[in-house]
Subunit: 365 residues, 4 copies
Amino acid sequence: MTHEIGIGMLGYAFMGKAHTRAFREIAALDSPLRPRLVAIAGRTEDAVAAVADRYGYERWTTDWHDIVTDPAIGLFDNGGPNSLHAEPTIAAAEAGKHVLCEKPLGRDADESYEIWQRVAATGVRHLCGFNYRFVPAVRLAREMIDAGELGEIRHFRGRYLQDWGDDPSLDTWRFQPDEAGSGALGDLGTHVVDLARFLVGEILTVSGLVRTFVKGRRVDDALEGAVEFENGTVGTIEATRLALGRRNAFQWEINGSKASLAFDMERLNELQVFRTDRDRARGFKTVLVSETDHPFLHFWWPPGHIVGWGETFVHEIHHLLRAIAGDTDVAPYGATFEDGYRAAEVCDAIVRSSASGNRVTVAYR
Amino acid sequence: MTHEIGIGMLGYAFMGKAHTRAFREIAALDSPLRPRLVAIAGRTEDAVAAVADRYGYERWTTDWHDIVTDPAIGLFDNGGPNSLHAEPTIAAAEAGKHVLCEKPLGRDADESYEIWQRVAATGVRHLCGFNYRFVPAVRLAREMIDAGELGEIRHFRGRYLQDWGDDPSLDTWRFQPDEAGSGALGDLGTHVVDLARFLVGEILTVSGLVRTFVKGRRVDDALEGAVEFENGTVGTIEATRLALGRRNAFQWEINGSKASLAFDMERLNELQVFRTDRDRARGFKTVLVSETDHPFLHFWWPPGHIVGWGETFVHEIHHLLRAIAGDTDVAPYGATFEDGYRAAEVCDAIVRSSASGNRVTVAYR
Amino acid sequence: MTHEIGIGMLGYAFMGKAHTRAFREIAALDSPLRPRLVAIAGRTEDAVAAVADRYGYERWTTDWHDIVTDPAIGLFDNGGPNSLHAEPTIAAAEAGKHVLCEKPLGRDADESYEIWQRVAATGVRHLCGFNYRFVPAVRLAREMIDAGELGEIRHFRGRYLQDWGDDPSLDTWRFQPDEAGSGALGDLGTHVVDLARFLVGEILTVSGLVRTFVKGRRVDDALEGAVEFENGTVGTIEATRLALGRRNAFQWEINGSKASLAFDMERLNELQVFRTDRDRARGFKTVLVSETDHPFLHFWWPPGHIVGWGETFVHEIHHLLRAIAGDTDVAPYGATFEDGYRAAEVCDAIVRSSASGNRVTVAYR
Amino acid sequence: MTHEIGIGMLGYAFMGKAHTRAFREIAALDSPLRPRLVAIAGRTEDAVAAVADRYGYERWTTDWHDIVTDPAIGLFDNGGPNSLHAEPTIAAAEAGKHVLCEKPLGRDADESYEIWQRVAATGVRHLCGFNYRFVPAVRLAREMIDAGELGEIRHFRGRYLQDWGDDPSLDTWRFQPDEAGSGALGDLGTHVVDLARFLVGEILTVSGLVRTFVKGRRVDDALEGAVEFENGTVGTIEATRLALGRRNAFQWEINGSKASLAFDMERLNELQVFRTDRDRARGFKTVLVSETDHPFLHFWWPPGHIVGWGETFVHEIHHLLRAIAGDTDVAPYGATFEDGYRAAEVCDAIVRSSASGNRVTVAYR
């Protein structure tokens, strides 16, 4: 018999919706723990009440303190603004709840380190919401790399390109330094850094630029960087909200001595694979990652039927529930809070490099 | 306040799962009727019981007769084998239930016509599960055509290519003539015919071939056809289960006097659009159909975040529920049973053309 | 020491230019015979004189009779309108010249048969200008098929799509039935038929349509067909001058039991290859056909540097010169006049099928 | 009547062949000066003699001094190793010959500056062989940018990826520091820098890395950089000979406030164009750059027929001949020796940044 786990959700907007949908999906999948939507917290009473009703949360609140200590809740999911990541997440962990916190973990490396350390000390399970680890094509890439199929890695080039930022009137929390911590850096750049670490390894140095294009904006619009990894890989990283025509183009490419891989989030179900086989016909394969022997794809459809972006959260949360149930660990396939902290440390290094003009060695604490 | 509608589901395999998932999703979307999973019927007791438990049906049965008359059920959804389409669907409609029947409607035009006529006589709402009308890119194509953006249409070329059929040991109901009616023709060819009709118009003549490659197989593996439409368009249609490397490649292209469109289901979120604008830079646009002003996409994510194949059923069933609630009609955006019948009539014409060697004029009753 | 071969060219427009450029290129390549541009014939005195001067022909004439008997000429190249294919080509062959005639060989099967028979009787070398056999990617495809890499072939789908025909004022010889014989059929459809035969084998039956869209036009704009091959392959063929946005899209795909291939002339240097290898990462490879071990590519650049459409004529004519020198035969890699005739026989069958509404068995004489 | 210009060529390998082929082509095109192949110089007697015979040079020599003063020569074309760029080019210019020198102009900024200054002082025409300015798609991009179609440019990302360098046994002059000056930097990186300057503007700062992967190799294999332009654009540049599967992938993308452009040399005939038009169907257009109103394409074929890599030299040299004839200037569409020097200055800055770890401001002399 499947046990239940009570869910307490903070946030009802973009991430709140995506996560809640995932919890509902998982309830019908083969999972060691069945999510029960206990409570949701949000700032605006009418909105949070409406969302609670629509998605079937048993109760709602405008005060997150109400949910971090609720005995019915076993997993606290923090999908709130970045400025609300630290305090509720730490409080929930210290109350014995397992915790999922959206990325970036904190607004900078200091805050991220604090969250990680405080939460790790409690012994609960913790996952930082780098959901792109749970794209089937990304997971396949990781497994190929782990199996040595790429040989020695020489290059990583990763860029996360969006185009919605070119509007001076935008003023959500994502553009407030106090609430967001940074702009494209924390929102998009952290994803690039996390997948660079997930797929290639630790970043050793960064030489970077951070840039704000839109007048009056108080957070960055873009970052550019040249990077070295501990294992000798070199490459570039980039993130921007002003790449016109690129709606959600998280693109990366890895070149190894035996194979190369390339990916674009706008074609989430595809992985480009080049191998040095002996085939006279050499070239990149466009792999439609949809075979049901894939760790995530047995959940879904027969081969050839694609999954959507929303499913990445199903895969992520399902993984976390398995870890909570003791069937696996969050790491290495999921990002722990340590990973959240490490990504922040790299992002801080980019900021320092931008300010000083020097190549900066990433120093993890 | 949203009213409930009781759902009775026949079938728990591929389509049963896809539809049930959609009902569960719709319960959290803005819909005039909220689905309530009342009962599910299936042949194998253990399996149907397990599925009922997992998805949250209130009860299950191995006898579909139990659900077609249940007063708690307002919508009967038939996801069973083709041989089980006619009798339960007609019975449900005659018991006053609205009905959704998977495609192909019947195993041939005669049976499809009978289903349509009997159901239409009852006055209930009926939708035939041509879910590809509910792919966002397909709907956008239809709206562009309706708005005259293509001008006079000259060509339609549609092909549905899969590759899983090249295995003589396959013996599910899909390979039994009694249960399936036909092979690639009813399974894949009907989709091509339906979108041809949805996007271009009625087919006037077909000159076709039906072919079985696998020894001992008793249904067709492939069909090829040259077609004329009533409006003068000419083109080709094709369906096969033996196109190696094409996992689910439902590809079509339409050439008009002012614009052309092209699509491939393996890139479900993209529409290729060519326009005769005055731009010096002329070419097909790769449109990522993800803007939230699209009729389906307000349900989901910000632009650039793709939806999966499973979401087509959410769009389809949501449309049907709106029709049941009186907010819209099933036609023209959804396929009615009349559309199911008409597709069958075209498929029968292909079979007759293959047998006789003659071009056959499609004669609707 | 390399021997010279005198070239007599008929036609100075599109094909005259493309062939002449090829002769000039070959003069600097490793070839058993070095082309010497002896004479060019054309209808309009000023134009032919200017072209002769520009390209370095030793003399020019407005009367083709002057060149078919010139002792300095060893190869007669007919790039004139279709109505000028038969008489000069036969006359040249009967005067002992080797002959290259542009496609379509004749304006119909009867004329094509006559040309073939008369020329074959002379014993000279003859090549029909189906230059797409000499696209590197097409040749690679042929070699893979010859080596059994595709296994048993099930499907061929070929279409040649252009879009320049949608203009009622067009009135070159290509739109005059007397001069051209047909429209898209002879111009584009013959290419599809030739590559179908080159890659898959003889066509057994056709069920087709021929259509003229543009009012007042006296040749066809498009053809559509379902086809069967002698070896059991089935598929579709299509050609049109009204596929908006497709500038020169000669696209084909072949599905075998072990591999599939796909091609688009607008990406002339690429071949799509799918193999049933055991690679977990399955998909079509985009092969940039540019490795220098390819039969044509040693002429050109290091790998990765693409060749243009014009180079197909260099490959074709170089092949013919090797055949004239006795180093190889025109067949099977080049199209002989027999191939030109056979393509015409299939095209005639399409016309008859269109008129009668019946599937027509291709009967070669 | 067209005047002749005598050509003296240094080098008979890759570039010698590509340029000679272009001269031969131009002789049959509409050009104010008709190239006459007077003499070719090369190190190895047998090889240079064979090449001279094949391509039709009137004479050959193993001593380049013979050709830089030959009165019959009007244009000296230097396709020799980098270490042979300076002395012969300067000597030829000082003897009054117009000069074309392959890239990189010199082995570093100092040598490049010396070449530029010495040659500029003579008053002859000079062009540095950045042939990718003469790719039709690149020229179209430049014209669109000049016309303001991109608005304010925000991002440039350029990378030149090849994969042939992963072989320790390679030991041509390209791997000798004395002869080549650098590795991927001068060979590939200069192309990226030149197109960055050609399309976006002057580079202000670079933060870069230079890396050698192959043991024992004495030149660089790869470079990575973050860059700022004088106009505020930021981005990344990269070049490598070890990107497995990328044969000749010179890829760049530019994002402006009104449009974005993207390009890949492996699809040389295509430009990706995104515009912020009001079309509901938004996306990048795949433009097949083949319309005959393009400045280069009137030389070639009807629309839809692609040109090869080799044709870039035809366009480049034709442009230079027009400049020599006084019909145009080398700049801005062609690269002058000043452009050759400026690219070298940026490359030197990358090397200095790599060594020091500091962001380096490019200082032109």
